[in-house]
Assembly symmetry: C2
Homo-oligomer: 249 residues x 2
């Protein structure tokens, strides 16, 4: 929400940088943070590839430039639940912890802008505005996790699917500083299985409910990874929570 230069990721497009969105990106901030320029590096992952495994050492933090990744947690017997969804401008990594708590998997081709952890933590200690921005982002993530709790605990399969589409549509629109309404197209860089892991369902149920929503005219499918929503309002109603999300938060 701050309009002046934020050092941690914001959703503002960045003019002077190969990265499309302002992120943890020394380049964007080179005037004040030139000394960090050489700490920045990029990593590219293909769909399905792991960024880190839970309990692996993780010596960097990162910001998503493009693509999508999921944080995933597992029970011994293999039951899997996604516990975080990383979209462009999202932050990855926990300062102060060098061991990954979750497995991070690219669900589509993924580009990360990375920083070594140690200098990042130093930055955090020395720059109150950086720390403040990270706190803000963490609180937003906590709010998102709480909406997700409501989704997992109390929504029907149909509502869950609709909710996921609403979330993706809102996130996509937010990057373009727009508000989704009317007829929109949502790209779905997730397999049915990844959707199931996000929603606490099986992939069969996801597939069935997608078909149901299609038959009900709420969505149209353009291939498997692209959804056309004739009326965003109707989709929001299907999602159960009628809160309109506020002004482009």
């Amino acid at each position: 929400m701050t309009t002046d230069a934020a050092i941690i990721a914001t959703q503002a497009p960045c003019e002077n940088c190969p990265i499309r969105y302002r992120a943890v990106c020394a380049h964007c901030e080179s005037e004040e943070l030139g000394e960090l320029e050489d700490m920045k590096f990029y990593r590219r992952y293909e769909a399905g590839q792991n960024v880190v495994w839970a309990a692996d050492r993780m010596d960097f933090v990162a910001s998503v430039v493009s693509g999508m990744a999921g944080l995933t947690q597992q029970l011994e017997d293999g039951r899997t639940q996604m516990v975080g969804l990383l979209l462009p401008s999202d932050f990855l990594g926990r300062p102060g912890r060098d061991v990954a708590a979750y497995t991070v998997t690219a669900t589509s081709d993924l580009l990360l802008c990375c920083f070594r952890r140690k200098p990042f933590e130093k930055l955090l200690r020395e720059r109150p505005r950086v720390a403040g921005r990270l706190l803000e982002m963490t609180l937003d993530e906590l709010d998102a996790a709480r909406d997700w709790l409501l989704l997992l605990g109390r929504k029907s399969a149909r509502e869950k699917i609709a909710s996921l589409l609403v979330i993706l549509a809102r996130r996509e629109a937010a990057l373009l500083r727009r508000r989704p309404e009317g007829r929109i197209v949502v790209s779905l860089p997730l397999t049915r299985e990844a959707m199931a892991d996000y929603l606490g369902l099986t992939l069969e149920t996801v597939s069935r409910q997608m078909s149901t929503l299609k038959r009900a005219g709420v969505i149209e499918l353009d291939g498997k990874r692209r959804v056309i929503v004739p009326s965003f309002g109707a989709l929001v109603i299907e999602s159960g929570d009628d809160s309109d999300g506020g002004p482009l938060s």
Copy 2:
């Protein structure tokens, strides 16, 4: 985990203060924060009483001194999901936001140590260590929310109940700087309905699974609000996740 004086809540008992645990408590920090002394005040709530309603104005932040409270979210049709569980030493309120996002209800008698929001935000801006501690706490809360996602998305009713008991036992032990093992007693300051809202179940299912666990010898009931666990290890196995939680995190 820092052993030196932390300004935001820690789990360390406080020697020179009526509050049992170090919390957002000017008293504990009066040597360096004397000017905030008059900003501190206490509030007491009875079981069932609301601290704030979602969308109400909230002009304070607080730390739980004793008792338990739940953050709760609702769908239009009344379906309710608890999205936060506040135990002693937990922090309540979002700096930078003056409107409550969730309804906060005392599930047992509750004592809060409160601070007016404005001076607290000033403190946050001026004291990097306070901000750092709050970031730390928020990240811990996010981790807890992610375990909760796994619970809601993938665990059976029986595992959910066992998991809740494990969480309560661990939290209670952590305040006493112990690690739960062997035969322990867990106090349960929640109605069956509150447990259901936490776990994404109905109160009938909660009741049934409590009975099942009792019949299986995993727990014994001492009244309705007190559970005896003959073997904590056995309970952890019932909870599904075998991770032993690490050293008193």
